[in-house]
């Protein structure tokens, strides 16, 4: 397939790997964080980490939109779905995310009207087609998906679809990155920046990583060669003692981002004073709620919600996985109490979650290597 196969070329991958190998100082460990769950997925699916020299350690970051949703918000979504006459529309990934008393999939099996959609516009279509039902879209995601939610709300407003509302859980990438970089334990040498978020906010928006924290960041695409090239660019900066924000994903990402998308985000959403992140706790100004102009489409204002903070199960270490403090397999319940079939933590549910990626793709090769 054109524009895909070119980025999966084995010969070029090996060439990049050997160039990366030439950039490490023997014995000097370098820790790079891939911020985005999509990158984690590619790394495991193509066994990218196995192409890298031992000195380079890839650490998984917080950029998995499903993983960061706290249990209390899942409980609220289930409560909305359980109301008479209400249809909750959500992305498929959210169906299996555990709340404190079950998941949306289980709520659906117990009689709640939960429907999987591929786009927020599908949820609006359901509302239009079934005017007798209240249709609530369970919005999640970073800046990447916020514009499509915003456009949907704008359209709902324009069409006067009164039975549609949005349970907004959109989050922002900068605050958790700052929280991570402020933490003294996580000693990162560089970051692989999230390409899809950068499509919206622009690579320039990551300037603070270099300017304030002195770390190189390379915005990366999602194909194997994208990642390898981004790792090479980051390692080159490190080797040359530079630190800057660079853009490997230039075929998609522009420095200033997408002005139209940013404008609609600004119009429809307003920053929340604080928001809870699964495993990371409350982070100030880290999420978006609906702006007052759109209050009538806000499910949180339309339905009484508990809004309770629900502590993660004690055994769950998603927070440490999401901050790169531990590897998936270091979690005390990984692969035993927590599996993709019966997940305790969100990281084991989403295909972009580090634990699910590791569990589903990674484990045998590494086992064989460790043994052999």
């Amino acid at each position: 397939m054109r524009y895909v196969d070119e980025f999966r070329d084995a010969g070029l991958a090996r060439a990049l790997a050997s160039r990366i190998a030439s950039l490490v100082e023997p014995g000097r460990r370098r820790k790079l964080m891939e911020v985005c769950g999509g990158h984690t997925h590619t790394i495991y699916r193509y066994a990218i980490d196995e192409l890298l020299p031992a000195e380079i350690e890839l650490v998984h970051g917080p950029g998995c939109p499903v993983c960061v949703i706290p249990m209390g918000r899942v409980d609220d979504a289930i409560a909305i779905a359980g109301r008479d006459g209400v249809t909750l529309a959500c992305f498929g990934d959210m169906m299996r995310v555990p709340g404190s008393a079950g998941s949306l999939q289980e709520a659906s099996a117990a009689g709640a009207d939960v429907r999987v959609v591929y786009s927020p516009l599908d949820a609006l279509r359901i509302a239009r087609e079934e005017p007798g039902r209240e249709v609530v879209f369970f919005a999640i995601g970073f800046e990447t998906t916020a514009p499509s939610t915003a456009l949907t709300l704008r359209r709902a407003r324009a069409e006067g679809v009164a039975n549609f509302s949005c349970f907004c859980n959109h989050v922002l990438i900068e605050p958790p990155l700052r929280a991570l970089l402020d933490s003294p334990d996580l000693d990162l040498d560089g970051l692989i920046g999230p390409g899809h978020v950068a499509t919206i906010i622009g690579s320039d928006a990551f300037g603070f990583v270099a300017a304030e924290y002195g770390r190189p960041l390379v915005v990366s695409g999602f194909e194997p060669l994208d990642l390898l090239r981004s790792i090479e660019m980051a390692m080159l900066q490190i080797a040359e003692g530079r630190c800057a924000v660079e853009n490997q994903y230039g075929r998609v990402v522009a420095g200033p981002g997408n002005a139209a998308a940013l404008a609609v985000i600004d119009e429809v959403f307003a920053p929340r004073p604080t928001f809870e992140w699964r495993g990371l706790g409350f982070i100030d100004s880290s999420a978006l709620g609906l702006a007052d102009d759109y209050a009538d489409l806000d499910a949180e204002r339309r339905f009484p919600l508990a809004g309770a903070r629900v502590a993660d199960p004690r055994e769950c270490q998603c927070g440490e996985v999401l901050t790169g403090a531990i590897k998936p397999w270091e979690c005390r319940v990984f692969g035993t109490a927590c599996t993709p079939e019966h997940a305790i933590g969100t990281c084991m549910v989403s295909p972009e979650g580090a634990c699910a990626a590791y569990y589903n793709y990674g484990r045998h090769t590494r086992q064989r290597e460790a043994v052999g």
Binding site: F91, N360, R363, T365, V371
Partner: protein, 367 residues
């Protein structure tokens, strides 16, 4: 490599965790969910717990324990095969086929891949009040025509009508009887190290056609279901490589990945797949790329996997390629002894990864 992994990943502990995971995976799955969810119907791990954790132990027959596509029945010296299947597809008509055609071909194929010549079918119809007679007539005609094409007779049937909203247009259940063919002795436990893995045609077309026909994705592409009888292909395989044929399975829900996992587990062998050798039609590849779904997990209705001893592989491939719909058949992998019960994919870069059963339905990527 071992030293590197040990220093990087803490070696011993990571290995122990992996061993725990591998051991748990090898155990008989338990059915311990409180309620049935859609995941139990998706052909992945949840379906496996339902079948191996509840149904198979409850019924306890030797034929069922084989976990084949059809069960063996011996009656008065006749070696027969029996199978049954229910069809609940939405929408009932889609590019390349319809529920009636699926209901016949699906059951015919369960017999065919059990190396049994399809003889007779029964058809049960569950109809929703309000279904248009023309729609029903079209499906009955589709069944008659598919049965004729597959050379089977419909010898018994049943009809039920349920209130509006109690079923989605129509459900069809078919049961098939076949005569086990003497040219091969196949079974889910007969796969041996060294065997070659063949795929009979491009994968993922049926499931993609259905996804597109539902119009949830807003994508337009010319993708047609691959629904067809596999008996002609199996008949050709039996002629060309019968004694070397170990096992076949039609790769329906859960796709080729799930079929390979089930068989690797049943025969306690390792299956290695070269992803690049697996045929995928370009529109299917493009749609799955866009959605972030692996075509290896998408349902087929006219594609099977076949395990053939190495000495029969060339003849088997040639026979498949000469059969209808088999033009793009390919050898996609090999069988090894270790690690038992697992399917591994060779990445284009020389690494390998696990291709496991999914927990539930394949999910499109969010961003």
């Amino acid at each position: 490599m071992s030293e590197r992994t040990a220093t990087r990943d803490g070696g011993g502990r990571e290995r122990r965790i992996r061993e725990i995971v591998a051991t748990a995976r090898g155990k008989r799955p338990r059915f311990r969910d409180e309620i049935v969810t859609m995941a139990h119907g998706a052909g992945g791990k949840a379906s496996q717990t339902l079948i191996e954790g509840l149904l198979e132990p409850a019924f306890g027959s030797a034929a069922l324990a084989e976990l084949g596509d059809a069960g063996a029945v011996d009656a008065g010296g006749a070696a027969l095969a029996l199978t049954t299947d229910s069809f609940v597809v939405r929408p009932i008509r889609f590019p390349g086929g319809s529920i009636g055609e699926l209901a016949v071909n699906g059951t015919v194929n369960d017999l065919a891949v059990s190396a049994a010549r399809p003889l007779a079918l029964t058809v049960s119809l569950v109809l929703e009040e309000g279904l248009e007679s023309d729609a029903l007539r079209a499906e009955v005609e589709a069944m008659a025509s598919a049965a004729g094409a597959a050379g089977v007779e419909v010898v018994a049937g049943d009809t039920k009508v349920v209130e509006r909203g109690r079923c989605d247009s129509m459900y069809v259940c078919t049961t098939g009887l076949g005569a086990r063919d003497g040219r091969a002795s196949v079974g889910t436990r007969a796969i041996a190290p060294g065997d070659r893995v063949l795929v009979s045609g491009p994968v993922g077309s049926h499931g993609t056609a259905i996804m597109l026909a539902r119009d949830d994705l807003g994508l337009d592409a010319d993708v047609r279901s691959d629904t067809r009888s596999l008996w002609p292909a199996v008949d050709a395989l039996l002629d060309a490589a019968g004694p070397h044929l170990r096992c076949m399975r039609d790769a329906t829900r859960g796709g080729v990945a799930s079929a390979l996992n089930e068989l690797a587990r049943a025969s306690a062998v390792a299956v290695t797949v070269r992803e690049r050798e697996v045929p995928v039609d370009p529109p299917v590849a493009a749609a799955s790329e866009l959605l972030g779904i692996d075509p290896m997990y998408i349902a087929n209705e006219g594609v099977m996997v076949a395990f053939v001893a190495p000495e029969g592989a060339d003849a088997a491939l040639a026979a498949l390629r000469a059969s209808p719909g088999g033009e793009r058949a390919a050898v996609v992998g090999e069988v090894a002894d270790d690690p038992p019960g697992m399917v591994l994919v060779e990445t284009p870069f020389g690494g390998s990864r696990v291709m496991d059963l999914l927990a539930g339905d394949p999910l499109p990527r969010i961003c």
